[in-house]
Symmetry: C2
Subunit: 157 residues, 2 copies
DNA sequence: GAGAGAGATGTTATAACATAACATTCCTTA
DNA sequence: TAAGGAATGTTATGTTATAACATCTCTCTC
């Protein structure tokens, strides 16, 4: 959970937004895919594939890795989640409407991941790419450190 | 191998630079660590831990994963190599002298990895971090795409 | 409403990446 | 030359991810 917001609403908003996007694109947000997305949205921290597998499995029915990885692939393709390379984890995408690069700020203490779509960062990367004659297809930007809240907490301890 | 340069000289330069840096810091570039570094410098492409294990093993002596991972950890700590998160691979660091963030441009075709230390990118990230009150500890920037040379090659094919 | 075909999911097995825990060796230095 | 720390060796296992093939399900067409 996060910086006091109504997280239930947050989840609901994410899911209905996903429904809408998939409907518009003519792709299917199947029950499995939707369940995976819902689990990912349970928090604003990165969740790992095998944690999802555990959570989606029960005594009588174990979900197998390929099932979850396929759902994750779909959600990634549709831009509904982000993969965090440095954590082998996944988080919901804040702004699935518009294709955008993910610039992720990851707190090492509370695990909170926040996303931004700063044009300045993008431009700086594009400038350097242009200088090299490099044709950019994807940008991975992950900043590790301490979020404001955890700095406060540390200061008062 | 890379964009026609004298790669042997490149390797040698990297190794002697590493020798010097380690001597200055009072840390030991042991034979194993040096061998791993040398292998990594065989090309400007990312190499994976298990490829290193394979290359360093022979019929009579197999190198075990912890051995290689420990050498990699040392080289990372000393800033002599970079880890590429999106590839689970490693490359030699161009400028091991000065601590610097790695901004890596990775060609999906030839695998070439080039490094830059652009201040503009760093500043843009710091600006956004400041806006969020985020205390940055590490920056991971990996740009995937096609290098100039591979674009040319594609255009003439 | 039977069959074809695509898309999604299930299943088995294994590949690929990484580390914990403990034993041994090697290197320095007092 | 013994003690202690650093490095490496060894065994085992934990974690992350995918290949390959079987089955199911939905929709569309005839």
């Amino acid at each position: 959970m996060d910086h006091e917001h109504n997280h239930d609403a947050c989840i609901e908003q994410a899911l209905s937004s996903a429904d809408e996007i998939c409907a518009r694109r003519g792709v299917r947000l199947t029950p499995m895919r939707r369940k995976v997305l819902e689990r990912i949205w349970q928090s604003h921290e990165a969740i790992k594939a095998y944690d999802l597998i555990g959570q989606l499995s029960s005594a009588d029915r174990t979900v197998k890795p390929p099932t979850v990885y396929r759902a994750l692939d779909f959600l990634l393709e549709q831009g509904l989640i982000h993969r965090i390379e440095s954590l082998n984890g996944f988080v919901g995408c804040d702004r699935p409407q518009k294709a955008h690069q993910s610039q992720l700020f990851i707190c090492r203490d509370c695990g909170h991941v926040s996303e931004c779509g700063d044009e300045g960062i993008r431009r700086a990367l594009d400038r350097e790419a242009a200088r090299q004659g490099f044709h950019t297809e994807a940008r991975i930007v992950e900043v590790r450190g301490l979020c404001a809240r955890c700095q406060d907490r540390a200061a008062h301890a």
